[in-house]
């Protein structure tokens, strides 16, 4: 091997590396502008998360719908892997059949509101038979009934500048979804399951149902929804509690 060539090689490799890193920076800025950058994109594994979210968000720009199934395909077993919160305020509401429960909607909205369960049930609702797939590997099919989140966001006048919807449940497992997912027609604030009220262990009074993402993004026991344009100051800035325990914010895979 000749020394000149190897020096030239080192210089070109160095330049390529610098170009690559700055290219990544530019790509991240552009991706962020078009809503293609996952909030937990930092760190070593964040590269994979950024690629997965960016690619799937682009694919789903076609407004794809999750598969819906026939009534005969509804599963006979619907496992619960996290029971309802053992938390006094929640248990009191459960005992009172959620008569005193309110869903608070705030943030970048023209008309912040608090909806009662009866109020939600009187809104136009939608029923859909979809699959719920847990990241653990198991899955089942059930029918969920609820109000489209887009209907609520429209009702409170969510700002056009908003980018994320943050969801706070009665436990610590808060989360967020992007605006395209929040406005998706199959994204429901579900209060019914298989023709009955949602049971406590399945997320009563209301759970998020987003069938294009895995089970853990379908937050249960909702208490408050907040519309924001940045997740930087929400929690530790990674968009949900999931990254804190090692899980990706995005649950499309």
């Amino acid at each position: 091997m000749n020394d000149k060539v190897s020096r030239r090689k080192i210089i070109t490799t160095g330049l390529a590396a610098v170009a690559g890193v700055s290219g990544l920076g530019v790509a991240a800025t552009i991706a962020d502008r078009y809503g293609l950058l996952a909030p937990d994109h930092q760190g070593v594994c964040g590269v994979g998360e950024a690629l997965t979210y960016g690619a799937q968000r682009l694919l789903m720009a076609s407004h794809s719908l999750a598969r819906e199934f026939g009534r005969s395909e509804i599963s006979k077993v619907h496992p619960v892997n996290h029971e309802h919160p053992d938390y006094d305020p929640y248990k009191r509401l459960l005992y009172g059949k959620f008569a005193d429960w309110r869903l608070y909607v705030d943030g970048m909205v023209a008309r912040p509101a608090a909806f009662s369960l009866d109020g939600l049930k009187r809104m136009p609702f939608r029923s859909q038979i979809t699959e719920l797939a847990c990241e653990e590997g198991w899955s089942y099919i059930a029918e969920w009934t609820g109000v489209q989140l887009s209907y609520i966001l429209n009702l409170v006048g969510a700002s056009a500048k908003a980018k994320w919807v943050v969801l706070y449940p009665f436990n610590d497992f808060w989360g967020s979804i992007d605006m395209p997912e929040a406005l998706h027609p199959q994204t429901l604030l579900a209060f019914g399951m298989n023709g009955e009220d949602l049971t406590a262990d399945h997320g009563a009074p209301v759970r998020l149902r987003i069938p294009r993402q895995l089970g853990y993004k379908n937050l249960k026991f909702l208490a408050r929804i907040s519309v924001v344009d940045s997740l930087k100051n929400v929690g530790d800035g990674n968009g949900s509690a999931a990254p804190e325990i090692g899980y990706s914010w995005y649950g499309g895979i």
Binding site: V44, C45, V47, G48, E49, L51, T52, Q56, L59, M60, S62, S64, L65, A66, R67, F69, E73, S75, K76, V77, H78, P79, E131, A133, C134, E135, E136, G137, W138, S139, Y140, I141, P211, R212, Q213, L214, A242, I245, G246, Y247, S248, G252, I253
Partner: protein, 224 residues
């Protein structure tokens, strides 16, 4: 004579690393629910196809990081694989070194090859210059059948991808079937790795590793 091109060597080792990462993280994910189903759905309380003799590991904190790593390594495998495929189709590596040669396909040569393998007879230096039929078929199977199958069956487990391309899931008959087949194809890839490493050891570990690192089976001094 150069044994492996720089591109083959680089992609080989990147794939080696990303494959190990995929296997380890895959095991971390599998351990949450080491039970296989067939069809659309499957949970505890439903009949399973079979249960692996493994514990249900839920509280160890390996699955979340495992999932991050699994998809990161999948991206690395995809990009490296595409670079390999495009360049190797271009340099005719696939046609020249991987597609079976006409002369390999005679009954006589197949018989001799199988017998040599059964007797654990090492290849002669001349034979080791190129891939034999069994090697060619395994490499073709890994590159063009198993690895693409891993991606497709993995896609079938992504609710987002399935919403865009339902065929990815429906062609398997359901998510759980795709998961089970993803598991079996991964087993075949691990089997390939074990046999591959065993063959490298049997046919001269140092020489084969040197060839895959420097490009040459013989040390530089011996070459000049």
């Amino acid at each position: 004579m150069q044994r492996h091109s720089a591109l083959v060597r680089a992609t080989h080792w990147i794939h080696a690393a990303s494959f190990i990462a995929l296997v380890l993280s895959g095991i971390a994910i599998l351990l949450a629910y080491p039970r296989m189903h067939w069809g659309k759905t499957g949970t505890v309380g439903m009949p399973s196809l079979f249960d692996l003799p493994l514990p249900f590991v839920l509280d160890l904190g390996i699955r979340g990081p495992g999932r991050y790593l699994h998809f990161l390594a999948a991206w690395v495998t995809l990009f490296t694989g595409l670079v390999y495929l495009i360049s190797e189709l271009h340099t005719r590596h696939v046609r020249k070194d991987l597609l079976p040669r006409r002369s390999d396909l005679g009954l006589q040569s197949i018989r001799k090859l199988v017998l040599n393998h059964l007797r654990f007879r090492r290849p002669t230096e001349e034979e080791a210059q190129t891939y034999n039929l069994l090697q060619r078929l395994s490499y073709l199977g890994v590159v063009f059948v198993l690895l693409p199958f891993m991606f497709v069956s993995g896609f079938a487990m992504s609710p987002a991808i399935v919403s865009v391309f339902p065929i990815v899931e429906t062609m398997f008959g359901g998510r759980q079937t795709a998961r089970t087949l993803h598991f079996f194809a991964a087993d075949l890839l691990v089997l390939f790795l074990v046999v591959h490493v065993a063959m490298v050891i049997l046919s001269g570990f140092v020489k084969r590793c040197r060839a895959m690192i420097t490009g040459y089976a013989t040390p530089r001094k011996a070459r000049s």
